[in-house]
């Protein structure tokens, strides 16, 4: 006798959940919970981190992210407009820049900017190695955001530009009052994604060394790990990263839903 299709599906789902339950049991029973608690969730260590984890480390991470994002978007706008320029030379230049910085790991650019460039050019970056690292993040993120902005500008319907032109508006005013405001609305969700990536990329700045008042979340956690010989500080900073990035990604989801509705 063959089983009915719904019965078969129920059995299959039951088996899949069974696997999950077995795996969870294995973790729960197999782990040494006392050791996990001492190494990851040690309340005394957590108390020692307070309030510097917020007032110094989280504040610096947010500050570096905002600086890199603001600088990146400004540079990205210039690059996007260059990419759409009628002048071939500008288009090539923008393409080379974008391909160059998208093709390199951010960490490499940060190290070169913070440790190589100051030596080669006898240059004191503002903010020391961290300042140079933020400039590196601006260079890298602008390459990604330039492509996003370009796509957004091109997604504005052609009729919009034509309407502005038919009213006698110059190319500059057409761009500033008609095209860009609509393009930016289109690219807000992908740009918010770029913001979240930047939140995490600021952790790479820890690699080039920071003064005590410059520490970001990652280097703060690392120092805690060394000081207390315990991984609890890393769990703590991980939670702070999530507190920053999850609301941001929820915001993206909300904006995307709203845009879907508006498009209808």
């Amino acid at each position: 006798m063959s089983l009915r299709r719904t019965t078969k599906r129920r059995l299959r789902h039951g088996a899949l959940y069974g696997v999950l339950v077995v795996a969870a049991l294995a973790v729960v029973l197999g782990a040494d919970w006392e050791a996990v608690k001492v190494n990851f969730f040690d309340s005394e260590t957590w108390q020692a981190l307070w309030p510097d984890i917020i007032l110094t480390a989280a504040k610096n991470t947010v500050k570096y992210t905002v600086l890199a994002f603001a600088g990146g978007i400004a540079l990205a706008l210039v690059l996007a407009l260059m990419k759409l320029s009628p002048l071939r030379g500008y288009r090539y230049l923008a393409t080379i820049y974008i391909e160059f910085f998208r093709g390199l790991p951010a960490l490499v650019v940060i190290i070169v900017m913070a440790l190589g460039v100051p030596l080669a050019f006898q240059w004191q970056p503002p903010g020391g190695t961290v300042g140079a690292g933020i400039i590196a993040l601006i260079l890298v993120s602008s390459a990604y955001m330039a492509e996003t902005l370009r796509a957004g500008i091109q997604a504005v319907p052609k009729g919009q530009r034509e309407a502005a032109q038919s009213l006698g508006m110059s190319g500059f005013w057409t761009m500033v009052t008609v095209v860009l405001p609509q393009a930016i609305r289109i690219v807000i969700p992908p740009l918010t994604n770029e913001f979240i990536l930047l939140v995490k990329d600021t952790s790479l700045l820890a690699f080039v060394g920071m003064q005590a008042n410059q520490v970001d979340l990652t280097s703060f956690g690392q120092q805690g790990l060394v000081t207390y010989a315990n991984a609890s500080p890393l769990i703590a900073i991980a939670l702070v990263y999530l507190i920053i990035s999850i609301p941001a990604s929820q915001l993206v989801a909300y904006l995307e839903r709203r845009q879907m509705r508006a498009a209808r």
């Binding site: 319907p157 009729g159 919009q160 034509e162 309407a163 502005a164 032109q165 038919s166 009213l167 006698g168 508006m169 110059s170 005013w173 009052t177 008609v178 405001p181 609509q182 609305r185 508006a262």
Partner: protein, 244 residues
């Protein structure tokens, strides 16, 4: 004899290999309403779009009020600000209110003060019967209302002439009348108008001249009543028998 508002001679336009306009000669006198009809793909919209150089002519000459608009030295933005254009898809700026749509070019092109721009905008909104909708956004308006706002937007620059590119083709049938009424009022005021349309009733009633285009050439032109009731050319007859 006064200078014609629009004068086109020997106009050719190709998109790649495809020749859309194959030598067009025609004139619009000041204060005249010229309707252009013809099957889709006949080149009538392209012709209209060449008059304010939204399309670049391949060869030939276009004079607007005696100015050669294909001259590389010409101030195209200044010429365009004297030619109002109304599009099939309205093309209102969706991120601006109705008032914003009517003011932006007045401020940036005509350099009018804010209060002056608003005053002109309100006058033109009243003219198209939408005085009470100035704070609305385009998405909140019906197609017919959007098109009337688009007409008011073009009028706010005090143009010498108006180009209409199938202004009622994207509208629900019950909304066409309001837009045509506004256009009829404009014609009565003596506005120079070039109208690409499928509204034969409008052409017959309002048009001073009717141009029938097919396959990139002007096949026949003349008094709308004569052309519509007694077309001379075989292709005109064939087209009109399908649409009337």
């Amino acid at each position: 004899m006064s200078t014609p508002a629009i004068q086109v001679s020997g106009l050719h336009k190709s998109f790649g290999e495809h020749e859309v306009l194959k030598g067009i000669d025609f004139e619009v006198a000041e204060g005249q309403v010229v309707c252009v009809i013809g099957p889709s793909g006949s080149g009538k919209s392209t012709l209209l779009r060449c008059v304010n150089r939204l399309e670049e002519p391949t060869s030939g000459q276009i004079f607007v009020e005696g100015i050669d608009i294909c001259d590389p030295e010409v101030d195209l933005d200044a010429v365009r600000s004297r030619i109002g254009m109304v599009f099939q898809q309205f093309n209102l700026f969706p991120h601006m209110s109705v008032l914003g749509n009517l003011c932006v070019a007045q401020r940036r092109v005509k350099r009018r003060s804010k209060s002056e721009a608003v005053e002109v905008a309100r006058r033109n909104l009243a003219k198209v019967g939408l005085a009470e909708r100035e704070t609305a956004y385009p998405a909140q308006l019906s197609g017919g209302q959007q098109q009337r706002v688009a007409i008011a937007r073009a009028l706010s620059l005090d143009p010498d002439m108006m180009l209409f590119d199938e202004p009622t083709s994207a509208l629900d049938p019950e909304l066409v009348g309001d837009v045509l009424a506004v256009m009829r009022d404009l014609a009565a005021e003596g506005m120079t108008m070039m109208v690409v349309t499928h509204e034969m009733g409008f052409a017959r009633e309002v048009g001073d001249n009717l141009v029938f285009m097919d396959d990139g050439v002007i096949v026949e032109e003349g008094d709308p009543r004569t052309v519509l009731s007694a077309p001379q050319h075989e292709r005109t007859q064939a087209f009109l028998s399908k649409v009337l």
